[in-house]
Symmetry: C2
Subunit: 549 residues, 2 copies
């Protein structure tokens, strides 16, 4: 997908002379050193400088890690402090006399207001008001705010924290997620202004109190988080290849978040390209995941209407959907993939057809970009394009940007330009006002092709809790495997007759979505036996990096 | 200390017209949001831009966190993979056939060499050689490499990791330290070139194998760490105030590391100021900690010879050493500190005298900089300066840079310039060839004034292990409280007659020092009941930050 995004923009800019911009996600460092390697496109369609792209870049992920973990530390420290101090001691510490003066900070005044206590003089609170004010009364068993790291560290998937004597027995089970899974990353990708970002950070729910009411970052530390993060809105890294500008900004996890590049980058890019210009923005995974979330979540936030869907296909992936053998990273490719096999391609095109149909649900024209590999035969390429067009695609064209740069994607650029001039009847898939369960069912049936959904008891109680707490009108961000249209990775093609199991339902209130878990979704990748870091090396004299591809 | 460093350089540059440079440490973000607040100096002697100084800055700490934790993840993942796979399976994964070719990576070739296996063709290793090659055989109970975060998170002081089913029962106890305590930060501060940095990263010891031999980063992931970090050598942030340049580079923890600004910054600054110019570089804590480590560790690495020691004193601290009541952050100051009290000052000056004597052990002239507060009386100020000069200081002068900027430190600058023209007989306190125990005893007796040292059984066995492993000739980096010359924080003035307890002895082989723990030293600060983050806020319209001081 990254190479198609870049190749397409190269073709638009350098060959069709259309103002255009690519908007990519910032790659997570964890997988760079794990199994994935660099993530800057490849061949003659890549982001430069490739090294900086993969390493730190704007520092977004680092800053988000810091903010995320400051909030996590504040939650546990607060529980400890409340458990070991009287109301009076807490109040004296929270509102101390400084140089003879005792006053509330602005965060504390806001909390008083939320509690319905309209006082500003710390000396006038009643004992009951003091108790309400000082006690967030967090129920430790309901904490949903996790610590994060930008490292593939499987040993942090489930841990017990607080086991030192200084924590006085307040240990509990917790976990680290990969940093890009932080709700703060999703907020950065969805926010539209500084004021909006501050509001979203304040609304993040970290746990419930013992009365079942949500405890938010606003009650803890959100102003500091905002300070930590406020400049990220400006840090769009710009990289250029073949005269083509690229914005790299934010990179939310595509598993449990919405996995799209940022609203801010899109909006700024749109302003820069002007009328008639093109902005090509990347969405994670296929039409069932990245695209569905792009439309239902990101477009709702940004208010922007997409002109064209570019659906990326490869002969190899279609052969897998047609029943070809499994592909293992590192192992040599089976002959089904290196030799012409029209039957496998034809059988697998049902998946492509379904992906096209999903895009059409939203009323936007679809152009299929077939990313051509040197092992693909002409007949295979022609067959895919033929079936795609029969299946409702506006057009379907082979692309050779990897080997030829923008020149290899000129046909794609022309098709996209033509498709964009078509009438557009963009619409969302569901109304926000529908009950959470209904929204999940619509996605499961219309997009995935499920018979129905099945909720675990946990999922049911979470849904009723969120509905009661007033979060029922948020869009849905499904956390489902990208390896199948269903919840079962091994079911290729177009699975039917399955019931989609919803094991749990969680919420990112600040980012603004509910995310149902379909089966178990890992939020912390691991390192394989031979991670990529065995290949990466740097010469201290020349400072040339090796092994990044 | 930061304000004196900055004020002195302001005076040298702007008032004495001497080329000069300040070298400061990058502050850790953890304490900024904990109890300490911003760390950019203050008043008219501060680093600008203050906001960036406290936030992310060059990204050093973030990059170090990423590298540190990648190594930690690699250690645990490797133990898991070795425990669950046969030699053959490991070998096939570590040295896979890629596009029909099977070859060792350069990291693997280096490992074969260290093992004495002079082969380059993966097909020719014997079963025994394969077993040696694939098994690091790490003893989990000896892992000394900890994960780090730049967050004051007390709940991570002692944790159990690896409790998810995917880790198959390989849980163990571990901990997170504050990021600046990472050995990699100490390496960044001590390294002199890229080649040197690569070598140091490779030498870092993470654990022992089951034969008691050290397992180093070289056997795991060090090339990638090097790649992650290599650009940090160039990222000296420069901040200017009153026309004065400041380098901010690296900030190793002053508790368990050496707590000094970087060798690279000093060397580059020296080049820039030219002959006759001044570089003022900051060391953490007092003469017993920061200065002793500066001389014995940093100067040995850099080969640089200091011209003058500037010893910072305050009337308030001396009154505490003279028996004044405890000072609690947040609580109003007792009258002993707000009113003139010459007796307390006189009694406390024994500590100043001892600090001067410590500096003199190294043969460098001492100038005492008395940082004047508005509550200090003239008589108090005069008394301190008088006693300091009687105690062997080359000079002792009051400084008012907080209220007056460089102008308030002109007298100090003149004294420093004069002292620097003196003959210099700089020497180290101990020879590296002495046994570890002897080196510790010399510091304890000559610097701290201890009767003797007492080693715990753990400390004894660690010392004999390090000596056996060939690490006996490294300098010593004592991990001792900075609140007393002794190991007991409450013993002010000049404690005598105490036996210094060494509870444990650890090593940072890459950074190049052995660090004995004097009593228990926390490597992860916590958040107080009312952390600084209650005061920090940012206006989304004006983007002005509040509450950072």
């Amino acid at each position: 997908k990254s190479t198609v995004t870049i190749g397409l923009v190269q073709a638009l800019t350098a060959h069709l002379n259309v103002n255009s911009f690519a908007c990519l996600r910032q790659p997570s460092q964890g997988p760079t050193f794990g199994v994935k390697g660099g993530a800057a496109g490849g061949g003659y369609a890549q982001v430069i400088p490739m090294e900086e792209f993969n390493l730190h870049l704007t520092g977004d992920i680092h800053a988000i890690t810091a903010a995320n973990n400051l909030l996590a530390a504040a939650v546990d420290a607060r529980i400890l402090h409340e458990s070991t101090q009287s109301d009076k001691a807490l109040y004296n510490r929270l509102v101390p006399v400084v140089n003879g003066v005792r006053e509330f900070s602005s965060i504390q005044l806001a909390r008083l207001k939320r509690l319905g206590i309209n006082k500003t003089d710390p000396g006038t609170l009643t004992a009951d008001e003091i108790s309400k004010f000082v006690r967030l009364d967090i129920d430790p068993s309901t904490i949903t705010w996790q610590r994060v790291l930008d490292t593939n560290d499987r040993f942090l998937r489930k841990i017990t924290i607080g086991q030192a004597n200084t924590e006085k027995g307040f240990f509990r089970q917790a976990q680290f997620d990969i940093a890009v899974a932080s709700e703060i990353m999703a907020i950065l990708a969805l926010t539209t202004s500084l004021a909006d970002m501050k509001e979203r950070l304040g609304k993040m729910v970290v746990a419930n109190d013992k009365n079942g009411q949500p405890v938010t970052a606003e009650d803890l530390v959100f102003s500091s988080l905002f300070w930590l993060l406020h400049y990220l809105g400006y840090k769009l890294s710009v990289c250029i290849f073949q005269g083509t500008p690229v914005f790299v900004h934010a990179g939310p996890f595509a598993n449990i978040a919405h996995g799209n590049s940022s609203v801010l980058a899109d909006k700024i890019a749109l302003k820069l390209v002007g009328e008639g210009g093109f902005v090509v923005t990347e969405a994670g995974f296929g039409a069932d995941i990245g695209m569905e979330k792009f439309f239902n979540i990101k477009c709702r936030t940004s208010g922007l209407v997409p002109s064209v869907v570019v659906l990326v296909a490869t002969v190899r992936a279609l052969k897998m959907h047609g029943g070809g053998p499994n592909v293992t990273a590192g192992a040599p490719l089976k002959k089904e993939y290196t030799e012409e096999n029209l039957q496998l391609v034809a059988d697998g095109c049902c998946n492509l057809q379904k992906q096209i149909q999903i895009a059409q649900l939203f009323g936007v024209p679809v152009v299929v970009a077939l990313n051509v590999f040197k092992t693909d035969s002409h007949a295979e390429v022609d067959l895919v394009c033929e079936i795609a067009k029969q299946s409702g695609a506006f057009d379907a064209v082979p692309c050779n940007h990897w080997s030829a740069g923008g020149r290899g994607a000129v046909e794609l650029a022309q098709a996209v330009r033509k498709a964009a001039s078509q009438e557009n009847s963009f619409k969302y898939l569901y109304n926000l006002e529908l009950p959470i369960i209904e929204k999940i069912r619509i996605i499961a049936q219309k997009v995935y092709g499920a018979e129905d959904i099945e909720l675990s008891p946990v999922a049911q109680s979470q849904i009723s809790r969120y509905s009661k707490q007033g979060f029922g009108n948020l869009p849905i961000c499904m956390a489902k495997t990208h390896l199948s249209l269903s919840h079962q990775p091994e079911r290729k093609g177009v699975p039917t007759g399955f019931i989609l199991p919803i094991s749990d339902v969680r919420a990112s209130i600040g980012a603004g979505f509910i995310y149902p878990l379909v089966g178990t979704m890992s939020t912390m990748p691991g390192l394989p036996t031979r991670p990529c870091f065995y290949d990466i090396d740097l010469d201290p004299d020349t400072e040339q990096v090796k092994g990044l591809f």
